[in-house]
Amino acid sequence: MQDTFPLKTPTQTRMSGAGMALRRFYSDLRREPLGHAGFIVIMILILAAVFAPLLAPYPAARQSLGEALQSPSAQHWLGTDEFGRDILSRLIWGAQITMRTVLSVSAIVGPVGLMIGITAGYFGGRTDAILMRFTDVVLSFPSLVLALAFAAALGAGLNTAIIAISLTAWPPIARLARAEALVVRNTDYVAAARIYGASHLRLLLLYIAPMCVPSVVVRLTLNMATITLTAASLGFLGLGAQPPMPEWGAMISAGRRFMLDQWWVAVMPGFAILITSLAFNVLGDAMRDILDPRHTRG
């Protein structure tokens, strides 16, 4: 089955405008309690990332060896790590890293996948065959292992991790965009634009791409959960953001050693990852249900 969404007619889109559409979307979202909760969590995370300097009770790197490995208390809500750093503060600062990774990967993967997909779907024939074969090949790679190998070859670091994850994350987007483009290219309004002489590029960018964007955004949102997990895995294995950066996966890796007696050091960042990933998943599910009512039966 293909994930396609009902098409709005261009007049509808134009009349409502982006602001109206967003407002309508939000009022739909409020009727999905789980999805709405996910949305709120994501908003909180983004705010935490943006205002980390204001929100975090302590600087991320402030060491205080006298306060090392303290259990959660009024002063340190989530306890302290082996250097006496406040875990809550590090999690808040770490939200910056997670959000940066997730948004960077999405900003690379979304447009790349969209362009490959709609090009294949719009032109069809040989172009389609070649692009989709290529997509299928990349899709058949084990993405985490490949990301690990790339990160190892290019040297560990946050940017390497972003590139490594992006390399294998675009194919599902491309397949989705292709399926959408196949439907859109046969609509009357594309045919009309073609008759008055719109160029291929114009058709692709102004007529086909906008129609595919909603479903791509949904798919990206669901992907963000996976990206969060992959990035944390790379961090955990020492191939993502490097210490002393407060990357959540790396924090778990460091906290492992104290797991038996000071469980909070490793457990707290894990909850941060779990909640973030969960929020992306429920938000993505809700968005899909809203944009594609046919899917709700599944």
Partner: protein, 344 residues
Amino acid sequence: MSSDTLGGPARAFAGRVLQFAISIFALIAVTFTIGRLLPTDPVGAIVGELASPEAYAAMRERLGLDQPVIWQFVSYLRDLVHGDLGFAAMTGRPVLDDLKIAFPATLELATLAIIISFILGVPLGLAAAFNRDTWIDHIARIISLVGHSIPVFWFGIVGLVVFYAWLQIAGGPGRVDVFYEGLVPPVTGMILIDSLLAGETAIFWNAVSHIILPASMLAYAAMAYITRMTRAFTLEQLNQDYVVAARAKGAGQARILMHHILPNITVQLVTILAISYGGLLEGAVVTEIVFSWPGLGQYMTSALLIGDMNAVVACTMVIGLMFMTLNFLSDIAYAFLDPRTGEG
């Protein structure tokens, strides 16, 4: 599914075989790129920073890095065909020999995990679909959502602390307790099987206590996926007319499930079995670190951290091959298992 299935099963099959061949070639090219082209200084990684210029040049020649890239790729292919994966600087042994030990350990872990995830995931998915929008369905949904979202390495750590350290009902890290190590002659490399072959039941049960925790933790994500998919497949079938017809004949829930719906979703279940198995091999990489499981994942990450690219590339290759083969098998499962695609 892919659009070229319309050209008859044989053509689709041929197309899929070609796709598989291209994928493997691409995997080889990618691993070549990762191993030989990307590292800023592959020679330095082997000889070390303190090597003399002569030793450096000698190693560069030995690695064939003074040759054109195409020629390097050809000799890489030739080595692969001969099963020569190079030496692992980390262990000082041929990578192939290391893999022969590490691979069965991973296979054992992933296989047990897939069994657990299937035994739990399929019934849960069926129950959720048959009791749609009841508390059973909601619980299944929560279990599967969390499974999709949980970082598997963290879950492993928590599991280890809870079940091993606190409750003491599971064995600790490693495949067996230290004093049992090396007592079983390796035949298959899988300790559960080897210990039984050797008639060592004490070691077998000890190994069970060690593997059950990592396998269960690893199984969770796959189970989440299997539950979700089984539910979706079943709901799709429940809307079909043949289910109404079966009920009109007087068949009850259990009979409709066992005799009508299960045969219809078997092929789909086999497909997701293969896909999740591939996913488990990947998940094993991080799980092994947590449980000190001497498999591919642990081998690969140790190699990653010291930049031993031969070992990294070989592991990527082995996991990639398994992954692709499983995807391939899942795609062609339709041709063999579904009566609709036979005899047309």
